[in-house]
Symmetry: C3
């Protein structure tokens, strides 16, 4: 029998199953540098140990999305290597800062199963937990994917679809305890706008475009130890529908987040990803643009220095963001839309 | 009103204005690794902590040009995002070693302004200071750029053109105090030539060529948090004159410096950039070659172990350097010339 | 006279000659991150400081092949810059773990010389030693290359061909002393197969393919400070036989090793490279696949927790590995074969 792991098929998942994912990963300042070089991140808190210290932390934490990608990558061999589609994210919360030197592990629990009517595929819902070397949870999210059945004749499991919040409610957001933005230097942060300056309904064009190279997205996706073959194998993908490798969706998320600095430069942390959808596939050569819309605002009882901004972050392909391209009349997305992400950001309040 | 920062236009600059640039940046060994991978640097002092220790330092300092690029990158959003042309550098001095773990900040002072006769653009001269977390200056340079006016009808400012040295005089060069090259191992450094071995007028072909990939120069430029859109956006640049993104000029400088190891392997530090000109634009696919000419030599009263070599470092595009291609008869540059840089190097003397 | 080093020609080598190679190199966690991003390595021991600690080490050691590439890179300017062909490797042993922070130096001894019958080239055999900053040997290997003569009229040296083992014998393998796999967590390692589960003659398809981009292999090869011009200079190579830069052979080795995780995920360390041949050249755009065959098994008298597996690791180009493509009837390699490597791996035994 072969020793090659071909991944789980729909009938391999059972409700309540706990999967400990392989390859714990120590995050280093080398990973942070690569992350910077891949996305051009300019948020001060993650760029400068000094800025982090003046904000109450021991040093710069790792970008929240780097944590997300590392944890996500671990789940791929077990959860989605035989996936037909990545259907969605929900209830994703960042629970505490991650620092270079921390070792991240990932565990998933199967929380929902539903065979599709064609009998060939099924949807699998998992809640994934990222923990550090002290056993502290740093990240938690739900993802659901459509996975092939090994054998169409296998009996369908009982259908269980988990109830998921359409957005994380503000009371569930975790603000890093030690992070204090009382003495916040807007010259260093690169943006003069505080939480009070943003209005619900306001839209922000992030102006700049970033073109993706094949080497970029493959370096990124390998860094995250994500093994989904569609990202790496031109020989296998060249005769497919796109004629190219597909860019890991998380790469587009990070590019959009990087671009969002211009307009949301004080959105130093992502507290939650309420929902996310990769609307269209992205390939090397595409130029990514982004725009944001403020969807909601929330304050924290115990904190006067920071508050939260709920934003829609939309990534576009080969289309400048000043037109805020989104859905077309019949509720479908414009073909230029790559990503529709809904996040809670932590933003300093006026002193 | 939009929260997107569109950068300063000519009329936004005033003489004596001080600009604190955003995003202080902690340099890490991850940045150093990427820098190595981008340029193939082989200078022993920056490659080996042990070589650095045997030279009196606590560990390997960061490559001088990495410091330059990081500081330069910070100034782009404020100084040159609306620049039409990067006109020149002068009086650039490296003032002390930078180590992984140091956090660099940048500040610029407007030292000159001159509206151009067309009334649509103006030249802005800034002196930029790079400082570490202790407030020590590590780098200082003057740059001038041609910047668009927001409104051609704006009144012209008083013309002030700063007096700039054609080269840093040797007495202004700062040799790192603790750096001692008394016990200098030429087998480890990779070059047997000391300061005494170089003659003014001598020219050195650096032989090798390095082809630039789009992913390379974009990774580099994002690492430096340089946001100039011409480097990243193929969608916007594809219909322009070059049909491609322009390579950040500093990328060409570092490539030329890396190639210069073969022939100038003991030029361990750059003490000053006397002047620099990006003669022709560079795009992905170009192969960079380099040659040097010794322009001057200088000794330091207080030091017998090291001295300085002033060199012209010329980068060529798709042309081998054995012909020392430079200017053509009428004083114009040959079309193969990418870069004309004038630097002071620190070189060990014979024991 | 030019100060550019043009490398050694066949007549520059003498039997017994010792060459100290330039540019000692401190390996950092930045190098490790880049290595991960280049090859997508997922072996737990090198990925997680915690996994390494639970295996008796102070932290994650550096990937064995990263050590190899760094040491190899140093030898290129002296040994193979004028090489016509890289003929083979033998007797390569990894002698102790390398950690981030260690500084590696390389020394080679000329152990064989043989002028070829055409009088224009000769074969040079060197034994290369990699040592850390404490003077401890961490790596040793023999390589032989065909090098051009500077002058065909130079007299031939006495022919000396060293006796080389066809494989490192098991008693010469060095198991890192402190590394203990008594408490081995297969969920974290990503493979449930122990040493006992592998049978001599068993073949394993590593399934996945990885396409090489020009930026990838050049970043890698520059990181290793390998200066062989065929890897970097498109301007010089575009009119050659391949019309492209040649990928450094070690890049293919690391890609194949990375792919081998799926099927050999518990082969945490490479103890030896018995022999290696770069069968066909590789260029950007090629997709690399790999398969392995178990050639031999060995136990260690003093160790009950680990044992060794001798494997052939074959890399293919644009050909899926399920057919185990190798040699064709007349003893020649199939044209899809890139690499034929013979290694000893360290694998945990069942408790």
């Amino acid at each position: 029998m072969t020793k090659t792991f071909t991944g789980n098929y729909f009938e391999d998942f059972t409700l309540g199953q706990i999967i400990r994912h392989a390859t714990p990963r120590t995050i280093t300042s080398g990973d942070v540098s690569l992350y910077s070089a891949l996305y051009g991140m300019r948020f001060a808190l993650q760029s400068s140990d000094e800025f982090a210290r003046s904000s109450g932390l021991a040093r710069s934490p790792v970008d929240d999305l780097l944590t997300f990608h590392i944890v996500f990558g671990k789940t791929v061999p077990d959860i989605s290597i035989n996936a037909v589609a990545n259907l969605g994210y929900a209830d994703c919360r960042f629970l505490g800062p991650v620092y270079p030197g921390d070792t991240l592990s990932a565990t998933s629990e199967v929380i929902g199963l539903k065979e599709n009517s064609n009998g060939k595929t099924g949807n699998v819902y998992v809640r994934t937990y990222g923990t550090n070397q002290k056993g502290e949870e740093v990240l938690e999210y739900v993802r659901w994917v459509m996975v092939n059945k090994r054998d169409a004749a296998s009996p369908a499991p009982e259908t269980v679809i988990p109830e998921l919040p359409s957005a994380v409610t503000a009371d569930k957001l975790i603000v890093p305890e030690k992070l204090l933005f009382q003495k916040y230097d807007t010259a260093l942060s690169g943006s003069e706008y505080f939480w009070e300056d943003y209005k619900v309904g306001e839209r922000i064009s992030h102006v700049d475009g970033m073109t993706i190279e094949a080497a970029d997205h493959m370096l990124a996706t390998r860094l995250y130890q994500n093994t989904a073959k569609v990202h790496f194998n031109f020989h296998a993908m060249k005769d497919g529908r796109l004629g190219e490798r597909i860019v890991y969706g998380g790469h587009v998320i990070s590019l959009a987040r990087g671009l969002s600095f211009n307009g949301l430069g004080n959105g130093q942390n992502i507290l939650a990803i309420n929902s996310g959808r990769h609307v269209n596939p992205c390939i090397a050569g595409d130029t990514v643009y982004a725009w944001s819309e403020v969807l909601d605002k929330a304050t924290f009882k115990s904190r006067s220095d920071v508050a939260a901004l709920r934003c829609r972050l939309v990534a576009l392909k080969d289309k400048t963001p000043d037109g805020f391209t989104y859905m077309i009349d019949d509720g479908k997305y414009n073909s230029s839309v790559l990503l529709d992400l809904d996040v809670w950001l932590l933003v300093p309040k006026k002193a």
